[in-house]
């Protein structure tokens, strides 16, 4: 492929690509994102290759390995165009039938379609599945149509036209004003206005400036950035080049964590291909603008996602935050002006330039414009990635898109914003999702993690879990964070073990204040949020643990006991045989009894007890009834048919 030396050449190339692949052409998209690969997509891809070769259809119909469309719960996902037939949970043994029926004869294989749990009807088109229907997928919508390792797929869908527009029809100042008008706010956590950040760097003195992609996504349960970088790396790259043009940077970095090998691979390929096509490197599209990008792999420290720590790491030092009373946009990498934006922020830029700020601002609320990708995980029916306009309610995301809570359990809380965020209760389900709305409620947007919790989740234990995570992931440099987290974790652990003392809760609150007010970076300043938000909304759970030694969710091991209800036990031996601690005594026709001293509270007996007996009871905060005297344990059965 020859370099593209002008916007006209890009345009002609795009038309040529489209003429080669009309919209009526059939092709097969198989999700090759990390989620689907884990569910066996690799074997499905191999089966398609083999079967399509065998049937001779490979010459006529293209198959592509694409990025993640979001419905991870039902992976591996296969979509067949032009009909947009969406098959879910496809296994290699389904492939011959798909090839024979759908590819050869354009017939739908019903059994692989989505069944709407409400109407029990099968749904054929991807976009008609309720999970997708309520979404506005400006950013991840193309993932399933693009082979991320083939730049031509991106160009065919209009890729790099925003870059051409910015370089040839707009001055850097005009691009900046467009981004400012869009009111785009950073998607990485803080929600800082992107345009203002760019402007600070643009106006900062110095010839050498940098633009950086923050792909150090590390919140537990979050994978939005991974999906974008794996699935549509050119959209991120195009945004980055436009940003470089605005601030006058000629060097960029993609800081991506090592734990995302596929993302590292795909962005590296994307950079190489963009260079080959003249879209990156020297004299981009013949504009005279030059810009290079280097991939920097993070070494696995969560704190390196913090801007100053990330920049320190790029300099080759240990990724520790440093004071940034002077913004990194002015004094960043090697003290040069450096614009750092999250993956998703950059991916928004080409859309804003192509479609205009007013198109962008039609989505969202007053303070938060555009769409946002969330990773919806935890106790939710439809685990996956969800892209919605800002301003939709938590209820819409969790119930209408997420399909509600599995197994008829009760919703208890949703944790947003990762370890810096907080837990929001059922009373706030109608809260609109936006930067300011979430912060006011005591949580935060963060990068878009959303962990749904049901009635079985103990909120004190959730706070303990996040503090435990942070005790490992804090850099350990400043006292309020390192020591504050250490002590908060100890106190929370004591509460979940029923060992809390009078005054511990107040001490936690005091520690939280110091961490919030005096820590060096945002990690420490927000570290108490999981505790503070659960205390705010679930104070009664703290009280129960501390005063009654009771875990209302029956979750904290040290505070629960199991016993077998003698009225219900049918002496079936199941729990007795399954108990790994051999804590259950009994025999055939002899009611089983748990020895409380031997019991390790693993819960196996409860799991194996047949639901029709439901004899095993789990309690907290109340004494276990004394076992029946041995002579009363014999079950005398009346035999049927006698």
């Amino acid at each position: 492929m020859a370099r593209l030396n002008s916007p006209q050449e890009l345009h002609r190339f795009q038309e040529e690509l489209l003429s080669r692949r009309p919209s009526t052409a059939s092709f097969v998209s198989i999700c090759a994102g990390t989620g689907c690969l884990a569910a066996g997509a690799k074997e499905v891809i191999a089966a398609f290759k083999e079967e399509m070769e065998k049937s001779g259809i490979a010459a006529k119909i293209q198959s592509k390995e694409t990025g993640c469309p979001g419905f991870c719960e039902r992976g591996p996902v296969v979509v067949i165009y032009p009909e947009e037939i969406c098959y879910l949970q496809v296994a290699p043994q389904d492939v011959p039938e798909i090839v024979a029926e759908t590819l050869m004869n354009r017939k739908v294989v019903d059994r692989l379609l989505y069944v709407d749990p409400a109407t029990k009807k099968r749904v054929q088109r991807e976009s008609e599945i309720p999970f997708y229907k309520k979404q506005v997928r400006n950013l991840i919508g193309n993932n399933i149509r693009i082979d991320p390792r083939n730049i031509e797929d991106y160009i065919a869908l209009g890729g790099y036209t925003a870059l051409a527009k910015a370089l040839f029809q707009m001055t850097p100042e005009e691009v900046l004003q467009e981004v400012k008008r869009s009111q785009l706010r950073g998607r990485g956590g803080g929600g800082f206005p992107t345009g203002r950040k760019w402007e600070e760097s643009r106006n900062a003195p110095g010839d050498v400036k940098y633009v950086i992609v923050n792909a150090d996504e590390g919140d537990p349960g979050a994978f939005m950035d991974r999906a974008l970088l794996e699935g549509n790396p050119h959209s991120v790259l195009e945004g980055l080049i436009i940003g470089a043009y605005v601030v006058g940077a000629h060097q960029g970095f993609v800081y991506v964590r090592q734990e995302y090998p596929l993302a590292v691979e795909n962005i590296t390929i994307a950079i190489r291909q963009a260079e080959e096509y003249g879209l990156l490197g020297e004299n981009i599209l013949g504009s005279g603008f030059h810009f290079r990008v280097k991939v920097h792999q993070g070494a696995g420290a969560f704190v390196s996602g913090e801007s100053s720590a990330l920049m320190t790491a790029i300099e080759g030092k240990v990724g520790e935050p440093r004071p940034k009373y002077i913004h990194t946009a002015i004094k960043g990498v090697w003290d040069r002006p450096s614009v750092l934006n999250n993956v998703e922020t950059w991916a928004n830029i080409p859309l804003i330039i192509n479609k205009g700020a007013s198109w962008f601002t039609q989505f969202g609320t007053d303070g938060s414009k555009g769409t946002k990708i969330f990773s919806l995980v935890g106790k939710i029916n439809n685990t996956g990635l969800v892209e919605v306009p800002m301003g939709v309610t938590l209820r819409e995301i969790i119930y209408e898109i997420g399909g509600g809570i599995p197994r008829g359990k009760e919703f208890k809380a949703v944790q947003t914003g990762g370890p810096s965020g907080g837990c929001l209760p059922a009373e706030l389900l109608d809260l609109k999702v936006g930067f300011d709305e979430l912060t006011q409620a005591g949580s935060m947007m963060g990068s878009g993690g959303m962990i749904v919790m049901d009635e079985d989740t103990c909120m004190v234990d959730v706070a303990r879990y996040f503090l435990d995570f942070l005790s490992e992931e804090s850099c350990g440099k400043c006292v309020p964070c390192r020591e504050g987290i250490r002590q908060m974790l100890k106190l929370l652990t004591a509460i979940t073990e029923g060992k809390a003392k009078e005054g511990d809760l107040q001490l936690l609150v005091d520690l939280a204040e110091v961490a919030c007010d005096a820590s060096l970076c945002a990690l420490g300043r927000t570290a108490p949020n999981p505790f503070l938000s659960t205390l705010k909304y679930f104070a009664s759970e703290y009280e129960a643990h501390i005063k009654e030694r009771r875990c209302p969710a029956l979750s904290c091991k040290a505070l629960v006991s199991y016993y077998i209800d003698p009225e219900r036990c049918q002496a079936c031996l199941r729990c007795l045989r399954s108990c790994p601690a051999q804590a259950i005594s009994g025999a055939k026709d002899t009611i089983h009894v748990i020895d409380q001293d031997k019991c390790t509270r693993c819960g196996t007996c409860l799991e194996v007890c047949p639901p029709r007996f439901a004899a095993v009871r789990k309690v907290s905060g109340e004494p276990v009834p004394p076992p029946l005297p041995e002579e009363k344990r014999i079950i005398v059965r009346e035999r049927e048919g006698k």
Partner: protein
């Protein structure tokens, strides 16, 4: 260097651009406590005991005075109920590690910090980094460094380097605010097996 005028505890203070609030305060004899600060070393901002309140453009916030650069017209308070509360808690957290440190004891008295709020931790180090930074910045030897992160962070001598250079230097020992014990202890441990002077 441009001159800047700011207000500290109600006093007008002249300073040069590029100075920190701590520098400016000390230049006129206003004391702000520090633990990780040292004139010969780059500002570090880790202990946070030097936290002060800065008011600029009608907004008040808490900053570490050892790293916050002076600005024209800002107003600084070095003591307040809030600041004292923060310092007290920071001291209590550190006293769990080094209850006998003279520096900590003196400050504890000033701020009413108690040493038994938290259970004692079996480490004397308060992670001020004076030894680590002195060795790197002044001696340019990097014989001692931090290892690990989060609550597991600790200082450690690099045996290969320490066995060659530390015995004749030991300049970091008197810098240690929890008495030289910690540095010495770590050093001995690093030497175990090789011994002084043996290479």
């Amino acid at each position: 260097m441009r001159s800047v005028v700011l207000e500290i505890d109600g006093r007008e203070v002249g300073a040069k651009e590029g100075m920190t609030i701590l520098d400016a305060a000390r230049s006129v004899g206003i004391q702000i406590p520090t633990l990780c600060h040292h004139e010969k070393l780059e500002p570090y901002g880790a202990c946070r005991i030097c936290t002060v309140e800065v008011e600029s453009r009608g907004r008040s916030r808490l900053v570490a005075s050892c790293v916050y650069p002076v600005e024209e017209g800002i107003s600084v308070r070095t003591r307040s109920e809030k600041i004292d509360r923060l310092r007290k808690m920071i001291l209590q957290l550190l006293l769990a590690h080094a209850p006998d440190s003279p520096v900590l004891k003196e400050l504890a008295q000033e701020y009413g910090a108690k040493e038994d709020i938290f259970d004692k931790e079996p480490s004397f180090c308060i992670h001020c980094g004076l030894c680590v930074r002195y060795c790197a910045e002044v001696k340019k030897l990097n014989a001692v460094g931090f290892v690990g992160r989060g609550t597991k962070r600790e200082i450690a001598f690099v045996p290969e380097v320490a066995s060659k250079v530390c015995w004749d230097c030991k300049e970091c020992f008197p810098l240690c605010p929890t008495s030289a014990l910690q540095a010495a202890y770590m050093l001995v441990e690093a030497f175990a097996g090789s011994g002084p002077g043996v290479d």
